[in-house]
Amino acid sequence: MEQAHPAPQDNARLIRRLLLLVAAAFVFAFAMVPLYNVLCEVTGFNGKTGAPGPARDGFSVGGLKAGTAPAMVVDVTRTVRVEFTGTVMPGLPWDMRPLTLSLDIHPGELQQVSYLVRNTSDREVTGQAVPSVTPGQAAQHFDKIECFCFSQQTLGPGEAREMPLAFIVKPEVDRDIAHITLSYAFFSIDGQRQTLTAREVQ
């Protein structure tokens, strides 16, 4: 009989605990955002390239200071083919193509390539490139020393520009990996917050 009409505080306590569980699950969803980023950086999950290392400090767009690049042992015993590609996302009136389609390199070598990007509209437009490396296992060993994706790029009406990229495939890259593809997606920045930093898009 005593269970038929439980004391109200019994129910209240259980309800409070269950609501706490609901709140915890809701917070968990948002906690997934930073957790997922950390996971991606650690594992190269999803083609995310590693967090910018201290060696990259002091570089600026357009001026390559390769001399300060981290010294690496070049592994001449093997060759990795790196392929370059890129997509312009809808909403950005640009053309882009890699000037080098593919490159055979030794892990540890510093390489420089560039993309030709052209504004096809008659107005000034700002874009932001976001890189992705496939396979994901290679992403954490793909070091971009200099990249046009480190900052936003602005092109005047009809302007074309060669955008440089300098990178090292670190010798730690798995020996099974013979092919790496670097892909850029160029996004329009217009109408979006202007608070993007190189760190955020890494």
Partner: protein, 531 residues
């Protein structure tokens, strides 16, 4: 289970409003259960009409009836309606009607919350379907066209139908969470004296696990669609790669909810199945304890396997292997359930009334869902079958044959208890045979279509898929119209028919059968003593 009942005196006549006001203000678990079931049945037909339009378009290759955008809207809203507005409310309707009767409680623990939980549903259903109507008047471009999964970045770019769907999902989620809290509190605090947790009817056990899964995962979906909403309108970049976000993150968040959702839909059905099988086999339930532990195991495993829904999105190999094996591990507790169901029937004096037919049909067809699920869980095989009609066929075997046929099992089983009348047995059997034949006619060809490479969610297809699609469409129309028999049977059973006694079924066992049919408006005011 042996019980001593003190026969409740005729329920005191109280004054409660009649007509519409009664249904708006009721806090009675039976009234609310009836409203949930009615709502689910109506929305079952709404979702069904949508998919019949889709099947009509797919009858022949080429575009005959609709624009691809409209096709996309129909498939997405069909899924959202069937999952959130038909199957989930039907399960909650069962819970409302049956859990208090089965555990000897006078009502749900939180009756006013119960009323509120139900009345959130109609506005949510209107929100979900309103964009179709608005588009007719030139407002907006129709309902959500991303499929039910809301995948970013498509959903970030979509029209205002996406906003309607996001808000509808929020409301539906709040309603489900309120229902879940109510059910957990009822089961924990309102059981009849002497009913320990291990004497709890299996139906209540199944619902208990469902309720905990809802509480643990629905807020994650709410969080994900909230991020989507702020991405769309408030300049955040959770899923926007240009802003440092990641669209794949959405898939993780969505399926962290989405996979347990499958078990949320199915656990109440697995819970009611042993009751039906035991009744019509005239034998006690086999393996009660094993089934309880299988429910718990499935509940726990369901939240750690989500990424098998997007094996092809790109994942490190160790992650693929982990998600493959953990997914396959779920088949172990499920096999325990299948074994217990069959063992319950084994050497029983079986009789095949409509609920038993549906239960046996459920076991066979749901078994096909489980076996094809194992194929999809295999990373290598999934690379081929992902996003093909094989997947569509698989989850319809799980959610139509498993979910909806399971709900129909329960409806035929308990309808005489609810209404006090027997349904028309001949029509019930006709409904079963038409359903089971046309269901297979609809979905079996889709396995072959998927194996042959037909992608899902596309309104047009290559010529070699024409025959199977034509068969599937014919099956779908028979399946759809057969459900009118069900609606008619339920309606005429509510209106009248042969009187049902309290026990209804000869082999029925459990507290709910100790009450008259229909039970008095207020039941178990004096709780039974379980010995």
């Amino acid at each position: 289970m042996s019980i001593a009942t003190t026969h409740p005196a005729e329920a005191p006549h109280e004054h409660y409003p009649s007509g519409l006001l009664r249904w708006l203000t009721t806090t009675n678990h039976k009234d609310i259960g009836t409203m949930y079931m009615t709502f689910a049945l109506v929305m079952f037909f709404v979702g069904g009409i949508m998919i019949l339009a889709v099947r009509a378009e797919l009858f022949q290759p080429g575009l005959q009836l609709m624009r691809p955008e409209f096709f996309n809207q129909l498939i997405g809203v069909h899924a959202l309606v069937m999952i959130f507005a038909a199957l989930m409310p039907a399960a909650t309707g069962f819970a409302n009607w049956m859990i208090p009767l089965m555990i000897g409680a006078p009502d749900m623990a939180l009756p006013r919350l119960n009323n509120w939980g139900f009345w959130l549903l109609p506005p949510a259903a209107i929100l979900l379907t309103l964009p179709f109507t608005l588009a007719l008047f030139g407002i907006g471009d129709g309902a959500i066209a991303t499929g039910w999964t809301f995948y970013a970045p498509l959903s970030v770019q979509g029209g205002m139908g996406v906003d309607f769907a996001i808000l509808a999902v929020h409301i539906l989620g709040i309603s489900s969470i309120m229902g879940s809290i109510n059910i957990i509190v009822t089961i924990f605090n309102m059981r009849a004296p002497g009913m320990t947790m291990m004497k709890l009817p299996l139906f209540a056990w199944g619902w208990l696990i469902t309720a905990f899964l809802l509480i643990a995962t629905l807020p994650v979906l709410a969080g994900a669609v909230t991020m989507l909403l702020t991405d769309r309108h408030f300049g955040t970049h959770f899923f926007n790669a240009a802003g440092g976000g990641d669209p794949i993150l959405f898939q993780h968040l969505f399926w962290f909810f989405g996979h347990p959702e499958v078990y949320i839909l199915l656990l109440p059905v697995w819970g009611l199945m042993p009751h039906v099988l035991s009744t019509f086999s005239h034998k006690p339930v086999y393996g009660y304890t094993a089934q309880v532990y299988a429910f718990i195991a499935i509940g726990v495993l369901s939240v750690v396997v989500w990424a098998h829904h997007f094996f092809t999105a790109g994942m490190p190999v160790p992650a693929l292997i982990y998600f493959m094996f953990s997914t396959m591990a779920i088949s172990l507790p499920l096999a325990v359930l299948f074994f217990c169901w069959i063992a319950t029937m084994w050497k029983g004096a079986m009789s095949f009334e409509t609920p038993m037919l549906f239960a046996v049909g459920f076991i066979v067809l749901f078994g096909i869902a489980g076996l094809t699920g194992l194929i999809l869980a295999d990373v290598a095989a999934d690379a081929q079958y992902h996003h093909s009609y094989f997947v569509v066929a698989h989850f319809h075997y799980a959610l139509f044959a498993g979910g909806i046929m399971g709900v129909m099992t329960g409806v035929y089983y308990w309808l005489p208890k609810w209404t006090g009348h027997m349904y028309n047995e001949k029509l019930g059997k006709l409904h079963f045979w038409l359903t089971v034949v046309s269901f297979n006619l609809t979905f079996m060809p889709q396995f072959f279509l998927g194996l042959a490479g037909m992608p899902r969610r596309i309104p047009d297809y290559a010529l070699q898929f024409a025959e199977f699609n034509a068969i599937s469409t014919v099956g779908a129309f028979i399946l759809g119209f057969s459900q009118l028999i069900f609606a008619w049977n339920v309606w005429s059973c509510v209106r009248g028919g042969a009187k049902a006694d309290g026990r209804v079924w000869e082999g029925a066992d459990g507290l709910e059968w100790e009450l008259s049919s229909p039970p008095p408006h207020h039941s178990w005011e004096v709780q039974p003593q379980i010995k």
